[in-house]
Symmetry: C2
Subunit: 180 residues, 2 copies
DNA sequence: TCGAACATGTAAAAGGTTACATGATTAC
DNA sequence: GTAATCATGTAACCTTTTACATGTTCGA
């Protein structure tokens, strides 16, 4: 999913500045997409060139001009086309599971620390999603994303709680960790 | 997680060719990491330059020389260091959830089709993970990855089954989809 | 015979992140 | 007064994917 499409999506909800869009990505979207300023600002520029958005400059008294972008009819059409033609995929990249895959090569305390890290991460994401759960402004589709996130993090936490001890108990340092 | 680290990991399990490594990524790893030939072959070259792997060329009778790589002591140490220093993270990128987030802009049949697509995807991944579940060669850490995958896909399928009808029932085409 | 699997590799293109540069405003 | 937030933007860097180039072997 291109950052351009993500920006069009954000602008379909409300006129926004680049900064606003970043905040939206960090809140509503954070558990399944994200983008940095370094990709958002150039995307908005390109979208303007293509006529997908218009820009209204609010002159900065002393700070940088605030550029508020609005989606155009063409932009909305482009968004609908992009969303319709993008295959429904979900991609996971887990450095945590890679680490566990090779955990038999690592000292027990490192594995333990990684388990703590990931548990804290799961809990934080879960808490956040639960805190926004009751926001009435969400559409059914938005709510689905939040609820799926909650279900998934709960499943991961449950799994972790269930297997953590066995994992660490069965863990033995390789005999040749420091020799060889 | 760099492809170099992933290659070292693969080679810690068995001496392999680039092609073998790709197959490992497609099987054991596929639900949480992947890499293409275009990154694997250059990574192996760099690892050889760094002394992390050695290469034994099996001359090709008529096909390209088969290069079988082995991890060295330094390579194993580098792998352990990488794994120990890489933060335990999990990153999700879901084009599906982005689409749903803006589903109120899309025709009902498109949304329905995307739900079918993602359901097929979930089922395929789940079936695959269940098929390798009983492989006795897995370490506890490897098994954890498989079992977490199973738990997560089951949670996603359950969630989909539970909310699918409500999602489609509440779905209305925006009045200005083609006008405006 | 035809497609899939085996096998390696390069080059271009794409895309994004990180870091930097700058500075005002607001809340503690 | 000091840290966080508001606000925009560029450029270098990094990494990876995609597409191409080449040819064999094996099974249906």
């Amino acid at each position: 999913m291109h950052v351009k499409t993500l920006c069009l999506g954000a602008l379909s909800l409300a006129d926004s500045t680049g900064y606003d869009i970043k905040k939206l990505f960090e809140s509503a979207f954070s558990h399944f997409q994200n983008a940095s300023f370094g990709s958002i600002y150039p995307s908005l520029r390109k979208l303007e060139d293509e006529g997908a958005v218009t820009c209204h400059v609010e002159p900065g008294d002393r700070h940088p001009d605030r550029k508020r972008f609005s989606i155009t009819r063409q932009g909305l059409q482009a968004l609908v086309d992009d969303l319709s033609h993008t295959p429904a995929t979900e991609l996971v990249r887990s450095d945590f599971l890679v680490m566990l895959f090779f955990a038999h090569l690592l000292p027990t305390d490192v594995v333990q620390q990684k388990l703590d890290e990931i548990e804290a991460h799961y809990r934080m994401e879960l808490d956040y999603l639960q805190s926004i759960r009751s926001d009435a402004r969400m559409t059914a589709g938005m709510r689905y994303g939040v609820e799926q996130g909650i279900a998934v993090y709960q499943a991961k936490l449950k799994h972790l709680g269930k297997h953590r001890d066995a994992l660490l108990a069965s863990h033995h340092l390789p005999p040749s960790a420091t020799q060889d």
